[in-house]
Symmetry: C2
Subunit: 383 residues, 2 copies
Amino acid sequence: MKKARAFPIASIGIIGGGQLGRMLVRKAHQLGCHTTVLDPTPDSPAGQLAGRQIVAGFFDRRGIAEVVRTSDLSTFELEAIDAAYLCQLADEGHRILPDPRLLLTIQDKYLQKCRLSELGLPGAAYVEVEQPSAEAFAAFGYPLVQKARRGGYDGKGVVVLRSEKDFSRHLPVPSILERLVPIHKELAVLVARNPSGQTAVYPVCEMVFVGEANVLDMLVAPADLPTEQLIRAQELAVKCIAALGGTGVFGVEMFLTPEGELLINEISPRTHNSGHYTMEACMTDQFEQHLRAILDLPLGDTCQLMPAALVNLLGEPGHSGSPAVLGLDEVLALSGVSVHWYGKNNTAPYRKMGHVTVLDPDPARAREKAMQVKDILRIVSQT
Amino acid sequence: MKKARAFPIASIGIIGGGQLGRMLVRKAHQLGCHTTVLDPTPDSPAGQLAGRQIVAGFFDRRGIAEVVRTSDLSTFELEAIDAAYLCQLADEGHRILPDPRLLLTIQDKYLQKCRLSELGLPGAAYVEVEQPSAEAFAAFGYPLVQKARRGGYDGKGVVVLRSEKDFSRHLPVPSILERLVPIHKELAVLVARNPSGQTAVYPVCEMVFVGEANVLDMLVAPADLPTEQLIRAQELAVKCIAALGGTGVFGVEMFLTPEGELLINEISPRTHNSGHYTMEACMTDQFEQHLRAILDLPLGDTCQLMPAALVNLLGEPGHSGSPAVLGLDEVLALSGVSVHWYGKNNTAPYRKMGHVTVLDPDPARAREKAMQVKDILRIVSQT
């Protein structure tokens, strides 16, 4: 007997109206779902496309309750939200996925590290510091990475301190200190898991960061590594999400050391910037996969059709306000280029305004074209 | 000096709020454009996603003027619209693409045939009949195909009459009669052309129709034909759209006779059902390509990444009203399957409610899976 699913298949609440929410809304429509977005900014990137936006902050319990109570199922596209209240709503019987109890652990980097250690998953050595002090840092030893326990994203909330002289740059908030490990490559692996326990893993991505703003700068998929290492990275990511009992799509960021060791850097309990390449390059993209997972539908094939490289489009330093783009025509003349704008009404220095994915049968050429895109495109403010 | 494009890149008016409009709206957002849709049905598939819908009929001049005058650029997703009025608005200086004068020719099948003949493009022999009569039909000779001059779509407005006995089934409207040609395969080729004259052509699709409702039933891309014939079909399609001076994406439907002759069946001055496979299977899909073309941006690469088969999801006979779907879970368990729902609030017998694309490295397996999807999925009314 076939199961009947009435339209809409589900009404989905999405906490967070940024670009991840926007791309999720788009896929939700394709799959026959309705969406409600919660975001403090009216006309947010996701809110523009969703049927409905509730304008409220991520800790506004009245707004959160409204989204969750008027949706069949709720999810989120960022970590810095009121997870404790979501736990309460889940206890009242509302479906919220991934499990907000897991979010509560992940959104605190110290609790996240503890959990990963308990599960025997590899990561850099760490300590907690409630109140940063020169003594505590010196006792842990330099070089180190200080990470704010809460609220960091896109490189914010993380500083690398190489010696005592750098202490003046420390973050004056409750933190963890991590050993600065030698890094051969930074990798990210997306894993999807549904409540039935089915798991799907995407090809491994290699992330290249640049200095100043530390926002993900270029991403290459598959990573340029021997098959054996790719498989180990995928296995580690799957093991990690299965051990955490995650439901939905998760990004597992990891370091590959020069000795070939894999260390988990952090987990994102949501779709991930490093997975945007899946929209053009894979049979099932990360947004559809997340929806399949939380709806407990069979997961899609993650097979990659062609090598891809991706660059984020960041607001040009010195420019704020209504955006304009320079070089769009030149970029679209390159073959295999897909441009994604996020619909943000204002640009700001280093703000993520969109991204470009390049497909090319030759991974090196995909990479070259992505660098060309980076050189050509500029997001400025309208004069 | 790079050209600056302010956001939104353009505000685009779209006449028609069906599934083609819906998919166009989605891509318009991705490319940084705003959209306004005109459709008589409130909350139409495209209107649900566009920033704004004007609820008005396709011959409502006040509504059409509002869309066109408040948009930087207007386009359409169906032929049965007030093309004469669009010509007038174009004469007033409004940008409407494809050129409504070309639409005026194409939307009348007799004028379309005449134009194609003038241009020396191959097609079945035809005559015009203002008032259908047994005598006129007999004089032309059976077997024949009668096509209403105006308003036909999805097999409506076309009947095949094999002998005088079939005359009772004729359409009592101004028509053309066409010679019924022996058909080895029915093909469709999408061509894009921008105002700068750049042209791009997609892989050839093979269309398989079934009896009763004659809505496109299964599509396979690339068509299962020798390369030489594929190239000839692409060349003919490009020649046709260049000769017509078209701007935008056009579908060129053609017949391949058992002798290997290619005959143009008809032209669609818009994105086309036969091009939906491009969303998953090609580097640039037909909707993005249409936008690039009408915005006079460089056209995208049409390269196909993997063989594809596509089936339309039609409302089950005997079912009308709020839709429900049977078999969704089973279908999503097949690998390489993408399901698209069009967001229509009501199903009806044979109404196009969505489509499914299957990607598979083996074209025969893609086809088999598409037939499985066809067998498994049912769109019924909610009980």
